[in-house]
Amino acid sequence: MTTTPYTMTPLRYRVVARRPDTADVVTLDLDPLGSPVQSWAPGQFTMVYAFGVGEVPLSVSGGEGHRIVHTVRSVGAVTAAICVAPVGTVLGVRGPFGHGWSLPDRGDLVLVGGGIGLAPLRPLVRTVMARRHRFGEVDLLVGARTPDDLLFTDEYDRWRESGISVHVIVDRAGRHWSGQVGVVTSLLDRLRLDPEITTSFLCGPEIMMRVIARNLTDRGLTAGQVQVSLERNMRCGYGVCGHCQYGPLMVCRDGPVTDYATAEPLMAVREL
């Protein structure tokens, strides 16, 4: 086992399976080639290096044992290189970094994932499934641009079977879509919440998280009961490069998951 993730030198992982999720999102299973990184917790991320192309932060979206699963949306050079990497490709991995979700011992849970934001929630869903009996209502709200952009659709049934209410909504429907159309907040409006015992987990575009978090706090949750996963430019992953500063936070070190009590005043400031 490696002793510390706090290094700029990557460890090698091989792509052992590759599943295209959507037109621009791919899920990769990675197994270590030599020493593995330390074990991770849901909500944490790693820095993934594509040979000669560069390195990007990616949330862990699953994995057992030493396996790490990443779900990647191709938006630029590095993510494109990772998305097209065939099985057998060796990537560099550093981490895991940051604070993950903090799951309470009991109560109701509301998980909201927008777009690729569902990726870091997926391991949380798995953990909740394993301890399902401890919690009351568990709602998972999933939003995507179009039905074709929905992630992990083949898992929704299993999630539902384990007692999680999965609600799905898209911005724009296609021809074969019989589900809901609109913004995630409209799903939220229909949920009955018990603000006393609910914990909420949000990951998606910043604007989505703000709207939902405000909605939740308007309905009586304290900001401390809402967790959000933040995103900033990252170069090191452990608080020494400075890029991910968000007010007092170093998102890589103090985040990416933080409670809304901390994030709210920061999100209110322009260009922070």
Binding site: G52, V53, G54, A80
Partner: protein, 263 residues
């Protein structure tokens, strides 16, 4: 090594320019032959008379557009190129010959030519980006060999080339040069000029004269008093902005502002 058919094709084109920027490619002495193994040099008249028909994966374009015929030619090249990269101040901002943009061209013609009627030129020296879309720009008069190599290796690797939008000051401080403006040694455009050269001028004890053109958001207005304090008069300020990137909007505006003040 790739077989020729698999190799991406590279074309180098020249418009109004001094050839210096394409020479930077031949100046990659240690890498040139390996590069030629990895890419097919499909059109590069400075190096070979062999030409391969397009389309081209990458076109490097040197020089500015100054004649109607060249305007047509760059459009054809654009159609034939997957990626079009401008190399140098001429291609990216019109170059030194864009000084004509601020003068009467017919007068220019008659200064140089006895029979100006033979000369067919545009009134302005146009950057390539004003005529066709451009995928990337290598700045500088001339470009930096290291940046060119990074661009080419990045394209081969699928990487984004490292062309940081930071001022020359960043590189100047990295190499430990003491600031010319602060020590009062020379007026310097470093704070508003895009990095890439390695801050070679301040290191040679002279002010940056802006050959890489403006950064993304230059505050030229705030710099001008410092240039004055370092010894430039209004005319000097106008001239320093009006050299190799005279037609870059931020520099053109700064120079025009000074003209206004003179009146």
């Amino acid at each position: 090594m790739n077989t020729p058919e698999e190799r991406p094709t590279l074309a180098v084109w020249k418009f109004a320019s001094c050839d210096g920027c394409q020479l930077a490619l031949l100046d990659c002495e240690d890498e040139l032959l390996t590069l030629a193994d990895r890419v097919q040099i499909a059109h590069f008249t400075e190096a070979t008379r062999a030409t391969v028909a397009g389309p081209y994966d990458v076109s490097l374009v040197e020089g500015s557009i100054t004649t109607p015929a060249d305007r047509d030619r760059i459009m054809r090249i654009r159609q034939n190129s997957r990626l079009l990269v401008t190399i140098g101040a001429c291609a990216s901002a019109g170059g030194i010959q864009a000084l004509r943009n601020f003068a009467d061209v017919s007068e220019f013609r008659s200064i140089v030519y006895a029979r100006p009627d033979y000369i067919e030129t545009l009134d302005r020296s146009l950057p390539i980006g004003e005529v066709v879309p451009v995928d990337a720009e290598l700045r500088g008069c001339p470009i930096d060999r290291g940046q060119l190599l990074d661009l080419l290796t990045a394209m081969l690797a699928g990487r984004r080339p490292h062309l940081p939008d930071r001022p020359v000051c960043g590189e100047c401080k990295l190499r430990g040069t003491s600031c010319l403006l602060v020590t009062g040694r020379a007026p310097c455009l470093g704070p508003v000029t895009r990095a890439g050269c390695g801050a070679i001028c301040p290191a040679a004890n002279r002010g940056c004269f802006g050959c890489y053109g403006p950064i993304g958001d230059p505050n030229t207005a705030a710099l001008i008093p410092a240039l004055r304090a370092a010894g430039l008069d209004e005319d000097g300020v106008r001239r320093i902005f009006r050299t190799f990137n005279a037609a870059a909007p931020a520099f053109a505006d700064a120079a025009r502002g000074e003209e206004g003040e003179q009146r």
